[in-house]
Symmetry: D2
Subunit: 337 residues, 4 copies
């Protein structure tokens, strides 16, 4: 059993913890948090040993009636690997701690690519992370883009990618984030930083991205254009994508018009937290005009990186190859509707 | 086993179906829908026999690859009771069908009180529905108000209730509903119809309600004022409410500031669909100024009436008394965080 | 003086009425509405003779204390031209009325291109409408796209246009429109109908468009990619656009991050209704990567077609050429910040 | 002419500047800002001398091509009165500056009541501010409540006020403020601080307030209950309010269902920035049940305090009594639809 520590038990961390626990070859050694709140209570209820990420705050947990298993350093010391899921920038601050205990670490997309040995997407570059010490699981948007680009490159060749990323303003619980009634070019400058981030996965890719922020919380929506190296029928692309385990092609007959009904479907289907680990590609939207492929995909920012973290654990610990890891992760989580 | 038919498999109907299936003394005989969509697929996936609510549309289901068990009349004929969860006003049209087959029926809050023998809230007037043929489970808002008013009346006496109901504009999947950026007095006239609806449960209650509609989808929010018959300490009210199984007092330590984090907590806790069957009362908000009691409560419109439907089934079929039914329902669903 | 009738006094019609009145060579003969509301009152307050679009409803206006000048047919008969600004599809129904009285007519973007002799954008194809009888001023989105495409075609040549149109769900007063918390691919099929609509202005243009709908009311936002026929510096494009009277380049120093601050700026500047008749292009966003040009532009759906209607009046009545008309319109309205 | 300095030229400050300029007995000596943005440009365009609120930042203005008239201290020294419209808490920091130059000052609702000699609402306690040195114009919500409470107290007597304030999450340009999809009890504790704030105007008033925050930007909405000292017909209240110059009773015939259409009406009517200086009370909503009065009112947070600031200038400078000041202000601004 791979002993996994989770440092940062928020939106991403709590999902990674549940996903790790569901794997046949892993166990959650403990999770670390900075302050008591409803998530800390759920950690305890689920039986995850809870560590204090900031030692001086241990008494805050005590005051809330929550037992602390110890300081985070202890957790890091005992783990085979640590998944850092702290807010952007904190992961970088934590790196020295992981180095101190010689514990390999995964970081999330909020950290800089320079921090790590390699960036990671299971479908695209699993091998790069094998035996690496510091690996960054790329952001939700980059993960979503990589999953469609990889098969297109392999099968048809990709000349250029142009993507408009219409991003949710905040996650459902982030009540202090806006905008309330606006559409923000974000960043205003073009191309946005998302393209270069995708290039950490495919270093020779030609990609330009544009970002926006809108008053919605459920999912990001990508408007994607890929100029392929050959003219292709839309049907061929649908078939290609139909074989990809982490792409869900929303069938027209389901009458799912956006992220609201999509999440409702996931909840009805019994998905934990209504999570949609797959890219949700509207099947009807997949279209080609000559060599130009277009599509819409919804990216569930809170969960699409979760199976990627699980796979990255196997890559870093050298415990399975890409195919085996992806298959195990998918089965354990129940990926595929 | 009580054989239950569900006519109308949408927001309410699909939840009632799952809740009925979870009961030790009930089974879902089948569910009826008017058209194929993602919900119809989930019904099939869950193994609920699917009936065509409109016979002429059977082929639409066939075209979508969904097997139809038969026409809804057959389902009604075979059932011990039918739960009608069709859109407002359709229930009234369906009544003659239920009468034709002598099948007692439950209706939802979108129907008029005049349609039925009695309106129903398990905590408040379970006995009124015993052996009745046509019973209306009151709306989400009325259910939410009844659950707090009942214990207050019994313990302290209620002189007057004044409530402002800040209602979500639409459910998460209802993408055609607004407003997008507005606060609507709705209805503009005061008092709103909600007060009289509560009086179908407590006929001698003095209550004035005001309604608004806002651009939010997760929950309704009630700003409640109850003038009690005696001055009471807030602590006494908290204790009283603490004993009510369908009131969840949100503890301050959880740092839950609104319906977003509340739903997240429910999802983290593993609630199906993140449902919050209980009134969610902010514990800190419970305050008294002389005889005036104030509080905020979140009402999860999609699910608070679900346990009430289950109890109403037992009342109508005479299979348990209030206390036993509520206890059984609560245990089967896992009510209480 | 050109005598102008306005049929349909809503979002577009009331703005066209004010704009026509501001012209030195035009007068508003009257405006027609179907029912009394706040807009009817303002029409009266502004001294626009008010006609009943539906004769049987005249008494509704009387009941509201609003004097009706006569039936709409009278207004059409006496006018030199009628601007139809009724809801989508109603314009087509009204066409026979205008033909009956031999009054040339303008229609709005909600009508089909087949209804008319030509579609119209002042910057791009003014001449096509000269002396035509039935002319359609293209939609807000098509107007916005045409204004940037025209100069690019003339100066650099355009190989292909790809645009993602992130559309506001409803206008600020349209409280029944959603979505509340969603991003909807709309239409789900790609390319959307917007591209062909732009081709009614530039018939040989290669353009693919993708549409979305978001919970915002203020403006549409375009994420635009134009593959030019030659590689061009962004600075050249900025210069080119700087010379276009109906493109407003938002300077970086203004710290305008979206449509909220943009509208606030327009309101501060004293614009009537805060209208932004120009395309609002974020200057910083104008970028080139080889032959690919990218930019973000905000399109104020309620007002960008207003100066176009004014110009179309001059085209149809043959009273000025493009340059003179555009200059007169711009001066009369105060276009250009 | 009263020489008025405006320190803080944002949402409130820029409106006060325009309003002061519109008065026959006042002039704007200058306005001070901390950083250049679109508002600074408009100040220059309008011909308001622009002062640097923070001396070290003068060169930022220069870099943006904006001429600075001098440091704010100079402006304060030369003025008869300064209106401080800086963000909450900054006013308190500025007090010593105003004292240093012996310039009387007005502060806004974001400051504490303790900072000043008296809090101010023109309709309710104009006299208290006569010749005072430091006066706080109460917040938008308190202003809105005071304007309805004052006439009710005088005419019928008020036993108790209970109000639920459903507050907009942010102003239209405040894109970083949320929530996006939530209804937040805010503050969670009851009664909220708004009641005590109203008591700075009516010290013997019995009032309990509850606050919420919703994803809307246009206006606050109050759900108001006033228990009067006698039973009154709703018609009497409507008549009473009809005589109040700063209450606008929205007539039913206008079909205005919320703040979106209300703002549209104000914009159509030519109001600068679409401002609604009056409380907007839905006439139909005014209802009585025994001694209980209920109503809904929309409060335009950005502008209702503007005429109050103008009146407070006259009170502090002793240049007119309440009746004369209010009349002059109303006429100069065009208050009353
Ligand atoms: N939320 C998303 O949509 C999303 C998607 C993909 C990637 N990411 C990335 O994942 C990372 C985590 O984001 P999140 O959304 O889960 O954040 P979050 O705020 O929901 O959770 C962060 C958690 O870390 C804890 N924390 C804060 N400081 C800490 C410290 N010093 N040590 C240990 N724990 C600490 C917090 O208490 C919280 O529990 C970021 O890099 C983010 O960019 C987020
Ligand atoms: N959604 C809520 O928040 C909520 C809360 C409490 C009560 N209610 C009440 O519950 C009832 C159902 O509301 P809902 O939100 O579940 O609606 P819904 O639209 O989500 O579901 C209604 C279902 O009924 C089906 N249907 C439509 N016509 C039918 C017919 N003639 N025969 C059979 N099925 C038909 C539809 O296909 C759909 O599956 C209404 O009375 C409503 O007022 C709704
Ligand atoms: N609102 C926008 O964003 C926008 C932008 C560009 C173009 N358009 C197009 O402009 C047209 C008008 O749209 P709008 O937004 O102004 O609509 P609107 O609903 O705001 O106004 C339409 C007006 O027409 C009146 N009307 C309805 N039926 C009528 C009839 N039979 N005869 C006369 N008047 C009638 C209504 O009372 C209303 O005053 C549509 O074709 C629309 O597609 C709208
Ligand atoms: N916006 C509202 O809805 C509203 C309503 C009523 C009362 N108020 C109150 O009015 C006051 C101002 O609020 P606002 O919404 O206008 O804020 P704002 O942020 O829109 O404007 C504040 C202005 O003050 C400037 N400023 C910041 N620091 C300064 C300093 N040290 N010296 C001089 N200027 C400085 C800023 O540049 C800005 O121009 C606050 O007390 C607020 O509580 C606001």
């Amino acid at each position: 059993m791979i002993k996994v520590a989770i440092n940062g038990y928020g939106t991403i961390g709590k999902r990674v913890a549940d996903a790790v626990r569901a794997q046949p070859d892993m166990e959650v050694l403990g999770v670390a948090k900075t302050r008591p709140n409803f998530e800390a209570e759920t950690a305890i209820d689920k039986g995850f040993p809870l560590y204090a990420a900031i030692e001086e705050r241990e008494d805050q947990f005590a005051a809330a009636g929550l037992d602390i298993a110890g300081p985070v350093a202890e957790l890091v010391a005992d783990a085979d690997i640590v998944v850092d899921a702290t807010p952007s920038g904190i992961g970088a601050e934590n790196k020295s701690l992981y180095e101190e205990y010689d514990t390999p670490a995964l970081y999330q997309g909020g950290e800089d690519a320079e921090l790590v040995d390699t960036s990671f997407n299971a479908r695209s570059n699993f091998e790069d992370a094998v035996d690496a010490d510091h690996v960054r699981v790329v952001s939700c948007n980059t993960t979503g883009l990589s999953r469609v680009i990889a098969p297109l490159r392999e099968t048809f060749g990709v000349e250029k990618v142009r993507a408009t990323l219409v991003r949710r303003g905040g996650d459902p619980g982030q009540t202090s984030r806006g905008p309330i009634n606006d559409v923000l070019p974000d960043p205003v400058t073009i191309p946005s930083h998302h393209g270069p981030d995708v290039e950490t996965i495919f270093d020779d890719l030609d990609i330009d991205t544009l970002g926006m922020k809108v008053p919605a919380t459920l999912m990001h929506m990508h408007s994607l254009n890929v100029t392929l190296e050959e003219a292709v029928d839309a049907a061929e692309v649908r078939d290609l994508f139909g074989d990809e385990s982490r792409l869900f092609l929303i069938p027209e007959r389901m009458s799912i018009d956006g992220s609201g009904k999509l999440k409702e479907y996931a909840l009805d289907a019994g998905r934990p937290r209504g999570d949609i680990w797959e890219n949700a590609v509207w099947e009807e939207s997949i279209s080609t005009v000559g060599r130009d492929l277009y599509l819409f995909q919804g990216i569930h920012q809170e969960s699409d990186v979760v199976p990627e973290n699980v796979d990255a654990i196997r890559a870093v610990t050298g415990s399975a190859d890409a195919e085996e890891s992806i298959r195990t992760t998918n089965e354990a989580l129940g990926i595929g509707f």
